[in-house]
Symmetry: C2
DNA sequence: ACACTAGTGCACTCGCGAGTATAGGAGACC
DNA sequence: GGTCTCCTATACTCGCGAGTGCACTAGTGT
């Protein structure tokens, strides 16, 4: 006997999760009210309580779905990282993708929300960390370990190199974005990630290589 | 006629602000209750309302005082930065001080709180940004502009260089610290800031200088 | 000793939001 | 067409925390 969910339920669930995402991201957990979510979903409050035990359960489900989405983005980035052969030629693309993914999607509001509620829902913050930023850092560290072995880069500690790459590229904008809803201007974004990648290559490329290709420009 | 504040008032004010700092940093604005603050201060709730119009005013005063304290730390760091002559010799010290100031004081909880309440009190987040991180970045940018002029470093954009320095040194730990109350192990801290400064010098020191001093080690 | 000012303790109002109850409506499946 | 299940709408309970009122106490200055 195969349990098939009533189509009305799946429909309601989708409406509710979308609305909850909007409301929670905009208001935060405590400030958001269940009535707000219901109204924004075009659904009766009772329907929400039919599907989720309480406000906390609704919140958990909402955030987990957002993490799921962020995770999908992360995966394509990780795949991209895995195929890199020539760092000088390809790292700028990786950097640009990283900056774009973190700074222009709804990742910034999600991170703010996770920080806000990290006391009440520490599992969610941990889950996010593991599946998004840590996954990217792991992929980068693997990449740099390889490139170190092949002599394309000079790497002492690949984990540290991965952190340096990530924070040279997005550090400043990420920090700014956390303290307020300022999206960096899209033009600025490319320039900053480019400068970050350039600095990384100056720090980690073998001398001859870096100089030959012209990455000495600062 | 010189207005002198009743000593009882100044005493109460100090007790209340200390307690409010503890409670707000630990609980966040909404979760904290005025009764909690009163109890933790050993003071009647009514006394709080004698000195502050409402909970929001108390919060503002509390945060502004914390910013004041962070500002004092910042100033000594800025003064230190202003006296740097030889980057290779002195930047490691600056990096270590920066890491220590940001990561081991109560700065991390303060930043979390400011992120949490940046929607309700955007002025506070702005005030903090201007007086703490931006002040440091400005000082660093000035320093690097100087060092570029004197040929100690090779600098294209001093502002970008300042961001690179700061986030190479504290970026990873800062980000980790925001998503949970994990203080980095004190041992790790020195190593990471050292690695960050080394990478910075590799990226920004003139070739001969960097190599002569031995900063090629990664 | 007296008056003034602040602090204390406690009981109170009041609004708000989570969660529940209930009665009725609408589609799906037989 | 009947029944089952889920949705809707409205109205409710209930607890909690912000803010107030008030009667009383204690320290200070003259």
């Amino acid at each position: 006997m195969i349990e098939v969910e009533d189509p009305r339920v799946t429909r309601s669930r989708a409406l509710i999760l979308d609305a909850a995402t909007r409301v929670f991201l905009a208001e935060g957990y405590t400030a958001a009210t269940v009535d707000q979510v219901a109204q924004s979903a075009g659904v009766a409050k009772r329907t929400i309580y039919n599907l989720y035990a309480d406000k906390a359960a609704l919140f958990r489900a909402t955030i987990l779905r957002s993490i799921e989405i962020a995770d999908a983005f992360t995966s394509t980035l990780v795949d991209d990282v895995r195929t890199v052969v020539d760092p000088v030629a390809e790292l700028p693309r990786i950097g640009a993708r990283l900056a774009e993914a973190v700074l222009t999607q709804s990742v910034l509001p999600l991170r703010r929300l996770l920080v806000m509620e990290s006391r009440g829902f520490p599992e969610l913050a941990a889950e996010y960390r593991q599946r998004a930023p840590d996954a990217v850092l792991r992929a980068l560290a693997d990449l740099f370990a390889d490139l170190g072995r092949t002599g394309h880069l000079v790497i002492d500690d690949p984990v540290v190199a991965a952190e340096h790459f990530a924070f040279l590229v997005i550090g400043a904008d990420l920090d700014r974005g956390m303290l307020g809803p300022q999206q960096p201007a899209p033009g600025t974004l490319g320039a900053r990630s480019g400068a970050g990648v350039a600095a990384f290559l100056r720090a980690y490329a073998p001398d001859d290589r870096a100089r030959r290709i012209g990455w000495t420009a600062r």
